[in-house]
């Protein structure tokens, strides 16, 4: 199996002989198996962990068994607490995401399109990007207080950069030949943007979105250390303070599942908007 064969050269060859035959005879079971593939590794990991815990290899006060985590989960679900935390956090996450993504996209677009703007702004943005949120918190409290604004600000700031950088890169590397063509064919600025620049930058923008959807939750946990009394980050950090290892692990698991959710959403978007792109066609 060489690299070149491995490389999905034949992405569009639903018509390759084997594929052809397969899709003929492939039973439902096989299709289910294909769908299940991404879950094999996580399930294996959890199984190993449960086995180790059951065998007494890991003391529960260090790392509780998955069953114990499930227990903690069912307790929190029954009391409605978990749902409340999720709800609060989701609102913050989405709010921050919308703000941060919008601004990030705007700056990415501006700097991607205009060299002048890039010269004046990019350095400053790259410098701000490098400032850790944790160090910034005292200033954020001073500027935005301890209410929701400060949390939204932090999430927006976190989301801003991946969107900005990838939009910038995407727009910068749009095929110049197509832009020339658009210009010659009398496209207005707006049309050029919607028809040429945006579609051309979209694959890269989606990378930014995908990354930002993760960063959104990561920043939220920092943000929710500020005077929060609900939210997923609050739940996880409080549990850490109080050494409730099962809840900490539950929090980690929920973050992981939310990550999966966001990723699935990003994939669906990609599949829809990048249908023309050979690399994103369904195989």
């Amino acid at each position: 199996m060489t690299l070149s064969e491995n490389f999905r050269l034949r992405s569009s060859s639903a018509s390759s002989p084997s594929a052809h035959h397969e899709s003929w005879r492939r039973p439902v079971r096989t299709i289910l198996l294909t769908k299940a593939r991404p879950w094999i590794l996580p399930v294996l990991l959890v199984a190993a962990w449960q086995a180790a815990a059951s065998a007494g290899l890991i003391p529960p006060y260090i790392l509780p068994a998955p069953s114990a985590v499930l227990g903690a989960a069912s307790g929190l679900i029954a009391s409605g607490e978990l749902f409340d935390h999720l709800l609060v956090s989701s609102a913050r996450a989405l709010g921050g995401f919308v703000i941060g993504a919008t601004i990030g996209f705007a700056f990415g677009f501006l700097n991607g399109v205009s060299k002048t703007s890039e010269e004046y702004l990019d350095t400053t943005l790259q410098m701000i990007r490098n400032v850790p949120h944790l160090a910034l918190i005292p200033l954020v409290i001073l500027w935005f207080g301890i209410e929701e604004q400060s949390k939204l600000f932090l999430v927006a700031l976190g989301v801003f950069f991946p969107i900005y950088i990838n939009t910038f890169h995407g727009i910068r590397t749009v095929d110049r030949q197509l832009i020339e063509m658009g210009r010659i064919y009398g496209l207005s600025s707006r049309q050029l943007f919607w028809r040429v620049i945006l579609p051309g930058a979209l694959p890269s923008i989606f990378v930014g979105v995908r990354y930002a959807l993760g960063i959104m939750w990561l920043t939220l946990i920092v943000a929710e250390t500020i005077a929060a009394s609900s939210g997923l980050g609050y739940m996880a950090m409080q549990a850490r303070e109080f050494l409730l290892v099962d809840v900490v692990v539950l929090g980690i698991t929920i973050y992981a599942l939310l990550g999966k959710l966001a990723d699935t959403a990003a994939r669906l978007l990609e599949r829809h908007y990048l249908a023309w792109h050979p690399s994103f066609q369904v195989h």
Partner: protein
């Protein structure tokens, strides 16, 4: 024998009634004047003083050896690059709808074939979606690709892509149309069809046409005037004073073609000696 075969299909299109509407706003072509035009890239001077006046509505063919600067010239005229020296004036000033068929098809990979053709109508007075679709479909049909209207460009053959690019240009009612080897990837038959289509649309709309081609017989058959570029300058500039419709393979065209080829082959005496 060859020529008879060619003739059989040659004037098919000209005899059919024109299907395409003329937009009232597109009133003919614009004149283009180049004065002492120079263009250098980093180390080399590609165009070394081009003087050329193209009257409004003329069909001019530009020929020359590979790498002589034909595409560069078109880019200068279209305003895509700036000249190193010299003047370009187009029309009587103001906005001029000029279009290019580039040497590569330059189709938007994320737009279906029909949408790529529709793109030609942006910036024109045709706004009504139905009319846009109609015109685009007619043109797509004329280049023989109506059945590909909903394909992505990546599913087209080389010649099909080139024809979509041609359709996008022809649908657009330009006042100046520059074509950079628009038929290079086409077989003899399709090529003649497209030549006829091009001539038909040009006769109909009256734009100024600048056709870069490496096929001298194509240049002679279509153009009012043939210009040969060599070593960055205009080496030959002849009028093709043959009435239309022209008969391909007629003695007079063959004679002009021969004359052009002679100059073309003479331009490199050193190589010939070697």
């Amino acid at each position: 024998m060859t020529i008879q075969a060619l003739e059989k299909s040659s004037f098919r299109r000209i005899t059919t009634a024109p299907r395409r509407p003329v937009l009232p706003q597109t009133s003919g072509g614009v004149a283009v004047t180049l004065q002492n035009l120079h263009k250098s890239f980093d180390h080399t001077e590609v165009l070394k003083g081009i003087d050329l006046h193209i009257p409004a509505g003329q069909f001019i063919a530009v020929i020359g050896k590979s790498g002589c600067g034909k595409s560069t010239l078109l880019r200068l005229i279209a305003g895509l690059d700036a000249s190193t020296k010299g003047e370009i004036s187009i029309g009587s000033g103001g906005e001029t709808a000029s279009r290019i068929v580039f040497q590569e098809p330059r189709l938007l990979p994320w737009a279906k074939v029909i949408d790529n053709v529709k793109l030609g109508l942006t910036g024109t007075p045709v706004r009504d979606p139905d009319q846009v679709l109609d015109l685009s479909l007619v043109t797509l049909d004329e280049v023989g690709l109506e059945n590909k209207r909903d394909e992505w460009p990546s599913a087209l053959s080389g010649g099909q892509k080139q024809r979509v690019a041609l359709a996008r240009a022809l649908v657009s009612h330009p006042r100046l149309l520059a074509l950079d080897e628009p038929l290079g990837a086409l077989d003899a038959l399709t090529r003649i069809d497209m030549q006829n289509l091009l001539e038909e649309v040009w006769l109909h709309q009256g734009f100024t046409a600048i056709l870069v081609t490496h096929d001298v017989s194509e240049a002679v058959a279509l153009a009012d005037r043939v210009v040969l570029i060599d070593e960055g300058q205009i080496k030959l500039d002849i009028e093709i004073d043959v009435p239309r419709p022209r008969r391909r393979g007629s003695a007079i065209l063959a004679e002009i073609e021969g004359k052009v080829l002679d100059v073309l082959f003479e331009q490199d005496p050193e190589k010939q000696a070697g």
